[in-house]
């Protein structure tokens, strides 16, 4: 093997041999049994300026990341560590070359021979493998390419990069200019060599442009155009097919101009294209009336070149053929002969001055195809290479003038303007006001004055950044105030001038609007895709169609009030509100959680619809809490809008009305998930509907976690959180903040889309009193009872029939009955009157009750820790059963009144009302539903029996405690009403 090694080393150039020796040493150092291609690759990478490293950087898509190379190194060192170490006890200092490496070296030799035709005849050993060939063959090794892949490099790509640079090297000769190694498509053509590796390529680009002093005026399209220019230059430096014809619609023209301009100004760093003379035949040929003279012209040109090339010090001549259509757009009669003659003449010229004359031209696809059809030999005779130039954007089609005669300058300018426009229109208050020149002049003047006035003191401190001046010298809020004032003033000024201008120069403004429309369109078609995001974030699908208004709006976002979630005012009020101002606090609360669906609050009609449906559902089930219903609907809709109906939502229901809260929660759940809510009681009370069996023996927290796990998108009611212990409250608070909940085992669960409703009292209302009421109701409701409709002849004097359950509370029913009696003589008016009166009485009693409540009810102590992160708090006022009773009575009365004869008096017995109330309170049926499904059908029966009876009838709704009826499960209201015709 030793002999083998020395033989091999003789086939390598000294560079390559050094690499191989280092690799062998490395393998020895690592105590490996063999030297493999991996060692060689690792050695090649290790030298920081190494060829392989550069090729890797070039080949990688993220070409600006040298760290990728570091990753590659790491990968190789890991791979090397995985190799088996030599087992033989005497350490081999020079591990033999592995078969894989031998193969790689042989490959390199073969490549080298093939690559150098003139050496083909020489004896084998005379061919020395150069480093590059060694690298290429090492890259071909499967183990190496696997490691490269691990570091997200592709060895074929790296290989291609090396081969590319090799071919360049052949062209350029031994003087390898690193910049010319750059692959086509980069902007490094004129990049100085000493640039930092770490530099952002865009900055390099910028720098290069700065250095070129505006020679390349374009920041954007220039980049793309550079690609094409580079491609063309590459073609021109090829030995064969070196005369480019740019084929495309409009772009080729600009690129051709760009290339010629650069050649004329000697702007190319690679000097094989410098010092050329450009001869344009465009003027001569295109303007020529008689195309038959073209061949003669070409001959003249040829003669001219003869003398030129002999005398001038230029290295060569580039003949600018311009658009090739002069060759094919000829009268049909002559096209064949004249065209063929022209082609032949030009071919002679090209052949004669090979190496001295280059052609460059453009053609549309159509023209080029025609050339090929009419003159099939032209491509080879003229040594042409077609370069397809793709149009960057529809832009050029839309604005053909730009590309055609505007050249670079104008189109680029428009790009720039547009760009500034797109990026700065957002926030800069100093932006020029959109007026005619005269008015904006005036505006500028005033603005300057204003600024002078505002900022005389800032002048001395310009050495510090603005924000630091502020931080050091002045109070923050003061600064902000001043800035705000200044901004406001500037905006006022802008507005003033804009209005003025609009008034005085309406014409300008109209045309301006058109101006604005155009630039807004361009980015959509051009390269400015990123900016589209900006625009898409504005509402409306076609923002560019609503120019001036959107612009003005866009100018003032800083002034616009922020869309505030409804919770924040609640938060502060609740925290700050001391006892004394309780009344105010409640009012404020109700005020901010507005009872009206605020106009314009919801962005689109879908949200508004959602809001309406929800509100309707809520009102149906718990009509006695209209403010709360509205607040809930608003908050929930808002949450839906804000969070995009994803993520957990937290609502707080405060107030003593347990039933109201429960009903609202169930409506919400029904609405959102279509199922009943999961209720978990955190307090001492246990509601029957809690699914307790599932959770028996678990901590509250685990029950919540379990519920979330089972139903990741449900509504979960955590009731009486005000009674929960610190631990639970702390966990819930954390869950609100973080979006996940930790159970007692420390396991985390994500809250998903769960809507949590935390209920608590937190009010000053006396719960016990309320509870007593409720319990009494409960006892009534759970007793077997039944409603009956009694139809009887009207009696002028009537005894009160039912036992009065409400003794003290029943202020309104009794007197009403009496007064009803008095007036029922005039039966035509009786019902109307009674209703009016009833309404009146409700109103008046409403007032008094509310007045009373205001005095002793306030939600005071909702803990801020819960309120802060929640999406909204809703206050439920204490329930007044009096109101509810009246409401029930009214509903029943209305339901009856719609179907029976007006002449018939309706009486609703207080006991019955109480029973219905109880049923409603604890059941799930809504009053309206019940009235519609039970009351009305029953009454229809009555009506049938009643029709014959004529006048003076009374329909009485009363509870019938005599008959026993088993309440159907889950329904607390009777599903049937007995109809009794009495005394007829």
């Amino acid at each position: 093997m030793r002999a083998g090694l020395s033989t091999i080393q003789q086939t390598l150039t000294s560079e390559a041999a050094t690499v191989l020796n280092n690799s062998i040493a490395e393998a020895g150092r690592r105590n490996h049994g063999q030297t493999t291609p991996l060692h060689v690759a690792s050695t090649l990478l290790a030298s920081p300026t190494g060829f392989l490293r550069q090729a890797c950087i070039r080949s990688h898509p993220n070409s600006s990341h040298p760290l990728q190379c570091r990753a590659l190194e790491l990968c190789f060192s890991v791979a090397l560590e995985r190799l088996p170490t030599a087992t033989s006890s005497p350490v081999v200092t020079e591990p033999p070359i592995s078969n894989a490496l031998t193969a790689a070296l042989k490959r390199a030799q073969a490549h080298q021979r093939r690559g150098c035709p003139e050496q083909q005849q020489q004896p084998l050993l005379a061919v020395k493998v150069e480093l590059e060939q060694l690298i290429i063959s090492i890259l071909d090794d499967p183990s190496v390419s696997r490691v490269m892949r691990e570091a997200s490099f592709s060895s074929p790509a790296v290989k291609a990069a090396i081969e590319q640079s090799l071919s360049n090297k052949v062209l350029v000769g031994n003087d390898i200019n690193p910049t010319s190694l750059g692959m086509a498509g980069t902007t490094q053509v004129s990049l100085p060599v000493n640039r930092s590796l770490y530099l952002n390529p865009r900055l390099q680009h910028q720098q290069q442009q700065q250095e070129q002093q505006g020679k390349l005026r374009s920041n954007h399209s220039g980049h793309q155009r550079n690609d094409d220019v580079n491609r063309v230059i590459e073609i021109m430096t090829k030995p064969k097919k070196k005369n480019p014809i740019l084929v495309g619609e409009l772009e080729p023209e600009t690129i051709r101009r760009e290339i010629l301009r650069r050649i004329e100004n000697n702007e190319f760093v690679t000097d094989e294209l410098n010092n050329f003379e450009v001869i344009s035949i465009e003027k001569d040929f295109v303007s020529m009336a008689d195309k038959s003279l073209v061949p003669i012209k070409i001959k003249e040109l040829s003669d001219k070149l003869d003398t030129r090339i002999g005398s001038s010090d230029k290295k060569g001549v580039i003949i600018d053929l311009a658009d090739l259509k002069w060759l094919v757009e000829q009268p049909p009669a002559t096209i064949a002969s004249v065209g063929r003659e022209s082609v032949a003449e030009m071919a002679r010229l090209v052949a004669k001055f090979v190496g001295k004359v280059w052609l460059i031209g453009t053609a549309t696809c159509e023209t080029y195809l025609r050339c090929q059809v009419y003159h099939p030999t032209m491509e080879s005779d003229w040594d042409l290479q077609a370069v397809p130039i793709t149009s960057r954007s529809p832009l050029t089609n839309m604005f053909p003038r730009m590309g055609a005669n505007g050249g670079l300058g104008s189109s680029v300018q428009s790009f720039n303007r547009l760009n500034n426009f797109a990026t700065t229109m957002n926030l800069d208050p100093n932006r020029k006001v959109s007026c005619c020149p005269k008015c904006s002049g005036g505006y500028e003047e005033e603005l300057a004055k204003l600024k002078e006035l505002e900022n005389p003191r800032d002048e001395g401190k310009n050495c510090l950044p603005l924000w630091l001046q502020n931080a050091k010298t002045k109070d923050q809020s003061q600064i902000e105030d001043q800035e705000q004032v200044l901004k406001q003033k500037i905006q006022d000024l802008q507005k003033k001038w804009r209005d003025e201008c609009f008034r005085i120069h309406p014409n300008y403004n109209r045309s301006l609007r058109l101006d604005r429309v155009v630039p807004m369109v361009v980015p959509l078609t051009g390269e400015y895709k990123p900016n589209m995001l900006l625009r898409q974030s504005q509402p409306g699908q076609q923002p560019w169609l609503q120019p001036v208004r959107t612009l003005q709006e866009a100018l003032q976002p800083a002034q616009l009030p922020r869309l505030e979630p409804p919770r924040s005012p609640v938060g502060t009020d609740l925290v700050l509100g001391p006892k004394k101002t309780n009344d105010l606090t409640v009012k404020d609360l109700l005020g901010c959680i507005s009872s009206e669906p605020q106009k314009g609050k919801f962005a689109n009609t879908a949200d508004a619809d959602y809001f309406k449906r929800l509100l309707k559902g809520l009102m149906k089930k718990a009509w006695w809490q209209p403010e709360a219903a509205s607040a809930i609907a608003t908050t929930v809709t808002q949450c839906k809008v804000d969070t995009g109906s994803r993520g957990s939502v937290w609502l707080l229901f405060a107030g003593p009305d347990r039933v109201g809260k429960k009903k609202m929660a169930s409506v919400l759940s029904e609405h959102i998930t279509g199922t009943n809510p999961i209720t978990i009681g955190l307090g001492s009370r246990r509601d029957n509907d809690e699914t307790s069996t599932l959770f028996r023996g678990k901590t509250v927290l685990d029950r919540i976690v379990e519920a979330v796990r089972r139903n990741p998108s449900s509504v979960i009611v955590l009731s009486d959180i005000d009674e929960a212990d610190m631990l639970v409250r702390g966990s819930i608070k954390r869950a609100m903040e973080r979006g996940h909940l930790t159970d007692s085992h420390g396991r985390e669960i994500r809250l998903g889309n769960v809507m949590f409703i935390l209920t608590g009292n937190w009010s000053t209302a006396n719960v016990d009193e309320h509870l007593a009421d409720e319990q009494r109701l409960h006892s009534i409701a759970t007793r077997d009872w039944k409603l009956k409709l009694t139809i009887s002849k009207k009696r002028l004097k009537r005894l009160k029939r039912s036992a009065n359950w409400l003794s003290g509370n029943d202020q309104s029913t009794r007197p009403r009955k009496e007064s009803g009696m008095d007036l029922c003589l005039d039966l035509n008016l009786a019902i109307d009157y009674e209703e009016d009166r009833t309404d009146g009485s409700i109103n008046s009693s409403n007032v008094t009750i509310e007045h009373e409540e205001d005095q002793h009810f306030a939600v005071t102590s909702v803990p801020h820790e819960l309120l802060g992160p929640s999406h909204g708090a809703v206050v439920f006022k204490p329930v007044s059963f009096g109101n509810l009773r009246q409401e029930i009575e009214k509903t029943v009365r209305n339901a009856l009144a719609t179907i029976i004869d007006e002449n018939i008096t309706i009486e609703v017995e207080a006991g019955a009302v109480e029973n219905i109330l109880g049923g409603l309170w604890f059941g799930w049926t809504s009053l309206e539903e019940w009235a519609e499904h039970v009351l009305v059908p029953s009454l229809n029966q009555v009506n049938a029996g009643l029709l014959s009876q004529g006048e003076d009838m009374v329909v009485r709704v009363e509870s019938d405690r005599d008959s026993v009826q088993v309440a159907s499960c889950g329904d607390w209201l009777p599903s049937k009403i007995a109809v009794v015709v009495d005394g007829v």
Binding site: L67, L534, S537, S568
Partner: protein, 270 residues
């Protein structure tokens, strides 16, 4: 002024033998250091700059490929240091910039005498054996929200990140700088940050690191600080402050500034 300096709005303030580089995190710019800088200018040369993509930088320079990984930002840092010919500095990085500094220090350990990391996290996503604070779902929601309505997202994210009321100055300030970013760039940067996983690189960091962390931080759980401490290749020290939020230097300067000064002035005792 060099092109890098210009592009990154580099500001050099104060004078002194040692150089402090202050690097801001996501959604802010160099103004996030306004409370700290006045305390440093007397004794140190302070270098401030804006990360590419911040609202104050030219969006044209933002190369979506280059900044698809933290290395791109790290090279910017090295580029700035090279252009300013700073041979050694104390690097104070907040949030993502702390990690950026760490990455840069792997490539060029000579440039960094120590790194002060504020609210840093090598990885935000949870895995089986690592708690970063975020689930994949959280992130996709976050990105979705950013995409659908950037402004709304900003006003929602700012108070969460700062950990304060909507009305507080810090939140206002943060939402200002956050909203200053071009939405697509902000999204790209956020994706880069939240998807980054620097855990494997930590062991290569040999520069001493001072890990400073809020007790409560939406983006970085306290355990992450411990993770960094355990996994960094060089010396490190952890200090957890009794502050709230991801931008403590902005929201609670009273607590944070003394801590930062202490860590900048003194080194880890060996």
């Amino acid at each position: 002024m060099g092109v890098v300096e210009q592009a990154h709005n580099v500001k050099i303030l104060g004078s002194g033998d040692r150089t402090i580089v202050l690097a801001h995190g996501f959604g802010t710019d160099q103004s996030v250091w306004k409370h700290l800088v006045p305390h440093l200018v007397e004794d140190y040369k302070v270098v401030l700059y804006d990360n590419m993509g911040a609202g104050t930088t030219n969006p044209e320079y933002f190369d979506f490929d280059r900044y698809a990984s933290l290395e791109g930002f790290a090279y910017d840092v090295i580029g700035i240091l090279e252009e300013l010919q700073i041979s050694s500095c104390v690097y104070v990085g907040h949030s993502v910039s702390a990690m950026i500094g760490a990455v840069a220090s792997i490539t060029r350990p000579d440039l960094f005498s120590k790194i002060v990391m504020i609210s840093a996290s090598p990885r935000y996503l949870n895995t089986v054996d690592y708690f970063g604070g975020f689930e994949e779902e959280d992130l996709s929601q976050l990105f979705e929200a950013m995409q659908s309505n950037f402004k709304a997202w900003c006003s929602g994210f700012a108070p969460l990140a700062v950990g304060g009321d909507m009305e507080s100055v810090a939140v206002q300030e943060f939402s200002r700088t956050l909203f200053n970013m071009r939405p697509d760039i902000a999204l790209s940067v956020a994706q880069t940050i939240f998807r980054s996983d620097m855990r494997q690189l930590l062991s290569h960091v040999v520069v001493p690191c001072h890990i400073i962390q809020s007790m409560k931080d939406l983006a970085v759980p306290v355990v992450v600080a411990e993770y960094l401490h355990q996994n960094l290749g060089g010396e490190s020290i952890v200090e957890v402050m009794s502050t709230d939020g991801h931008l403590p230097q902005l929201s609670s300067p009273d607590v944070v500034i003394p801590v930062l000064l202490r860590h900048i002035r003194s080194d880890i005792a060996v």
